[in-house]
Amino acid sequence: MAYLELKNVNKYYAGVAAVHDFNLDIEKGSLVSFLGPSGCGKTTTLRMIAGFEQLDSGTIRLDGTDIVPVPPNRRDIGMVFQSYALFPNMTVRENVAFGLQMKKTPKAKINQQVDTVLEMVRLQDTAKRFPHQLSGGQQQRIALARALAVEPRVLLLDEPLSALDAEVRVVLRGEIRRIQSELAITTIYVTHDQEEALSISDKVVVMNKGLIEQVGAPEEIYRAPNTRFVATFIGTANQFLGKISGKNLVVCNNVELSTSSLAGFNSDQSVVVLVRPENIQVQAEQSRQKGWNSVAGKVETITFHGAITRLGVNVNGQRVVADITVANTQPVSLNQSLWLQFPPEACQVMAVEE
């Protein structure tokens, strides 16, 4: 039995489903991300776990007991907010000690615990300051320390890094992951930033329009997306619409693509072939590798991203995106004709509802 279980959870706002038939098991000590565009229901789900929103139906069980009837202050679930939500009238130390005071922990124990968590977030020397005297990143560390001080059964993080600078975000997400693994605390992390979700999670839950699209390990989500939404929301994917024309063959826009196994599809079925830009090789001449797909196109855009350069190539009127790395590339110029090549394994085929 999983540590935290959500079963058939539904939530409606004015008749519209914000979260629909949500089922999820979360193992003790793991870090699970809820990832999706804004309005997908990820924050609503988190707030239902915290107790700030009521379920319309379904159950949430924590360590075997139903927590739906339990008020938020007795759930023993810590929360970190996007806006930090530190108490402005209290010093850092008082903020961190607050939860322990509510639990009527003895004073000596409180002091010791506050020191421990402040050390964990590396901000011992700010204890006597007030929140407004700290930077955003420091405030969020304190908020994290405050939530951890009471040793909650589950830690919820609601877009904790969204209000911070890009640089601070990257550092802090590493810190969050480090502390989470050190304490082995069951954590749910809500974000709309795919890079954030992929880099720190044990498991990613991709959500869209109140529904779970896919649950899986970060690599799984990226390499084998279940739905078109996941494929395009996580990373970039070229989409070729076409019809199945033979054994492992799909005709898209008058070009025949050979793909990996098409078991489970009917002949003549409409499908979409998804190819990630990094799996496409760019060649000046057609020196076709055996079995690979090869299409001709003309370079329309060149965007430099540092480690890679992204090309926008016009293939029979369709824009195809391909990434080239600095190491293996001969210079490419605008309007240059070239060949895009990719192996059948790089093609993922999905059915299209007609």
């Binding site: 700030f52 202050n73 907010f81 939500a85 108490f87 009238n89 010093t91 607050f98 007030f130 908020a143």
Partner: protein, 279 residues
């Protein structure tokens, strides 16, 4: 326009000389505000002041008469009781209401805003007479309790506005949720988190209510009259007997209002200074 231009040409580091009309406006404002107060002070110590520009002589006799007036202490006490209980009741009603509306019943806020203008729209004579007729049974009939109830209504906007603005400035919803997730119940959230953060609003509301109620005449006179004589009643009584003594009463009333204001501000700033020391 003129101001922004001069700021631009002189730059922000140099002090901008105020224009003539600005000096005039400030002088006019001070004149308008200060002349009545200064005149009242002067009249309270003047021997005779009807044939000359300045008083002909000065005396403290009227203060002596004021302090030795038979009802002096008791009216002062009644006024303090009335003002302080009004402040207290008003806080107890307004703080939880404003908090509740801001966190759980956001839709009701416009309604509350309109309700809080109503006391300004109802003539006090009408309010007083209506209350006296409705609450004509003991223990309410013409009692200080009824009076407190009435002045709470009448002074409510003064308490509501500053507190509402203060709570708007802190994100009460998120602070509440943060408190709850740390195990605090709703009373602990209010007492430990919300109230300390809106304290400046509560203080300025209390200040406005205290000084308004301390000088309240109409409701007191119509609802309780001589049964619970307050300081303004005594003052008005003396305007019919001796203007100089009435002026002395006014000065005493100002002074008390100022002292209480300073006291409230001092109490309010204590929290801040003690914080500053711990840094």
């Amino acid at each position: 326009m003129a101001k922004s231009q001069s700021t631009q040409t002189h730059g922000s580091s140099k002090k901008v000389r105020p224009a003539g009309w600005q000096i005039f406006m400030v002088a006019f404002f001070l004149f308008y505000m200060l002349v009545p107060i200064i005149s009242t002070y002067a009249f309270s110590v003047a021997t005779r002041w009807d044939r000359t520009i300045l008083p002909e002589g000065y005396t403290l006799e009227f203060y002596q008469r004021a302090f030795s007036a038979s009802y002096f202490t008791i009216t002062l006490r009644n006024s303090l009781i009335l003002s302080l209980s009004t402040v207290l009741v008003s806080m107890l009603v307004i703080i939880p209401t404003v908090y509740w509306v801001h966190t759980r019943l956001v839709g009701a806020k416009p309604l509350l805003d309109v309700l809080m203008i109503l006391p300004f729209g109802i003539p006090m004579v009408v309010l007083a007479l209506a209350l006296v007729q409705v609450y004509n049974f003991p223990p309410m009939a013409r009692s200080p309790f009824l009076l407190i109830g009435a002045v709470v209504i009448y002074s409510m906007p003064f308490m509501y506005r500053p507190i509402s603005n203060a709570i708007q400035a802190v994100d009460a919803n998120v602070l509440t949720e943060a408190g709850q997730s740390l195990g605090a119940n709703i009373f602990q959230v209010l007492y430990r988190i919300i109230i300390p953060n809106i304290l400046p609003g509560i203080l300025s509301g209390s200040l406005l209510v205290f000084s308004t109620v301390f000088a309240e005449y109409t409701l007191t006179s119509l609802i309780v009259g001589a049964r619970f004589k307050t300081f303004p009643l005594l003052l008005v009584e003396f305007t019919r007997i001796n203007g100089n003594v009435a002026s002395a009463f006014s000065v005493i009333s100002f002074t008390i209002a100022w002292l209480v204001s300073i006291l409230i501000l001092w109490v309010g700033s204590m929290g801040h200074t003690s914080k500053a020391k711990t840094i």
